[in-house]
Amino acid sequence: MVDKLSHGIGGLTYDKTKRAWPNEANVFIALILIILAFEALGQILPYMNGQSMLFDFNTSRDGTIMNIARIKIIILQVAIIGIIALGVTQVIISGGIDLSSGPLVGATAMIVMSFAQTELVNGQLNPKAVFGAWSFDLPVIVPIMVGLVFGAFIGGINGFLIAFTRIPPFIATLGMFLICRGISQWWTKGQPVSFPTDAFAAIGSGMMPVVWFAMLAILLGLIMKFTVYGKHTYAIGSNEDAARMSGINVRRHKILVYMIASMFAAFAAIVLSSKNLTAQAGMGQFYELYAIAMAVIGGVSLKGGRGSMIGTVLGAMVFGVIQSGFTFIKLDAFYQLMAMGAIIIGAVVLDQYRQQRATAG
């Protein structure tokens, strides 16, 4: 009886040509193509005088043929939103969405900075002090913990609402979007909070945002690939009913997913306010959308179940290169937004086309 089966089920054999080409490879190729396109534009456009975006053959500057300064800026400008995108990626993989991360950055920055203020600024009492004397020059761990706990709290509410009231994640996090924006304006009645301690200012100084982004990307990438947490996140996004029937505690897991996403956003707020040495109520505007865009460009499926941290990191790079490239070819800011929107739509259309083809095959 078993002999009959030895040729595969129903005579089906494994077709190597149908093997899934990793999504991340496509994103990487897109990244290379986009860089080449900007390099070509630099050569073609008459007003560019043959400039190169990423290469610098005037080796006397820094000893390499790369334009290190621009590459640094590209990575630095996506690093903080990239941290948010990592957290959002696992939310999208679980089949949800998180719109609250941008305003959460603003609210967390305001709160965190209030616990990170230094007492004396140029010999004067801190003019932007939020609390009394007790809040000055606290150890740097205090503002960090306050920020992460606040993030976990907001994410926990998101997750609780989504898991227990069954309202769509879009609505739950849209409500939290407004609530967080309200919190950030209410906290100091709109006043910016400034003058952090040196230790706090060190968190986001220089290239530190990139270091945090890289470390968190590796950490979360490993978690998604090698732990039960990651496997269950993919399973829930892939088929929530199957996950439930298989005995996964879907509700508890969703709360955890949204908590972690919000903690990543809160950490991004810590790095951002440290980098800027100030916190303002309007911080983080559009960050939630950029973070989702990075994930989507990186091949994370909005239907859930598919995507990876490597993809999102590459998606963030694509995002950064396009932004920097537009500035490089001296495109006006209005056109930049329009073009960025078109690119995000194009990425999703391409991804859906690719998925349809894969399923049909």
Partner: protein, 260 residues
């Protein structure tokens, strides 16, 4: 209480509001026995399965599994007790590969002190998967392929291999071949025969008369939420026409007059 029975239900009843989907079902399954549940659409077959497997909570009645009364609060509870179910809608995660699906919700892990972040033991799961597939005679060319890329038959075999991998005390299959082609159906039926040889009891919900007469020892017919016949098709002289008669209501077996 006799230990001959792996599963027994007494007066098992389920009402959805005013709808009496299942009414007073008394059902017995011997160890090693394969039983088919037949009946028209809406006769209560799937409802019956959902009460046993803890997917839903019964309105009243008793379920006695392996000699003990049980109250499963969820499918995981039932699974831990030893009831493996292949659901009508496949409970598989399309984006995961074969070992992931086999071990979904009960992954083999290392470093368990890490709580939800404990590590997956991919190697052990892969080995157990290959052993499970071998046991059921299922051959899948590349188990690392996401099952999205597999045919309906292969996916069904994965779902069934999942039950076979875990030495269940009772396997329940809800129309496992409803959506399959001829060859794929033969595959699934082969797996069922393997289970029979291994002495693992089975409840098979099926509409396929030929399949039922080929595979099982006994047929229980449901009609309008009630059991209306219990037929020993291996020993008694029962024909397909008789069974159809019970299903449609043309006949009712002695002892089940309530269902008429």
């Amino acid at each position: 209480m006799s230990n001959d029975y792996i599963l027994e239900t007494r007066n098992l009843t389920k009402h959805y509001g005013g709808v009496h989907a299942l009414e007073g079902a008394n059902f017995k399954l011997r160890k090693g026995e394969h039983i088919a549940i037949m009946g028209d659409n809406g006769a209560g077959k799937s409802t019956f399965v959902r009460q046993i497997t803890g997917v839903e909570q019964r309105t009243r009645g008793d379920v006695i599994f392996d000699g003990k009364p049980v109250n499963f609060v969820g499918p995981l509870d039932a699974r831990e007790a030893g009831i493996e179910t292949v659901f009508q809608t496949l409970a598989l995660a399309d984006d995961l590969d074969v070992p992931d699906n086999l071990f979904l919700g009960r992954e083999l892990t290392k470093w368990n002190f890490l709580g939800p972040f404990r590590l997956l033991d991919y190697k052990a799961m892969h080995q157990a998967t290959m052993a499970g597939l071998e046991k059921t005679g299922v051959k899948i060319p590349n188990v690392r392929n996401p099952i999205r890329n597999m045919s309906g038959g292969q996916r069904q075999c994965v779902a069934i291999a999942r039950t076979a991998t875990f030495h269940s005390k009772l396997t329940i299959m809800d129309e496992p071949t409803a959506a399959l082609g001829v060859q794929e159906t033969a595959q699934v039926e082969n797996i069922i025969r393997t289970l029979k040889e291994a002495g693992e009891p089975l409840i098979l919900v099926s509409h396929n008369m030929r399949q039922v007469f080929d595979l099982v020892d006994r047929v229980v017919v449901f009609r309008r939420g009630r059991i209306c016949a219990d037929l020993d098709i291996k020993n008694d002289d029962v024909t397909g026409e008789d069974v159809v008669g019970y299903i449609t209501g043309a006949k009712t077996q002695a002892g089940f007059e309530d269902a008429a």
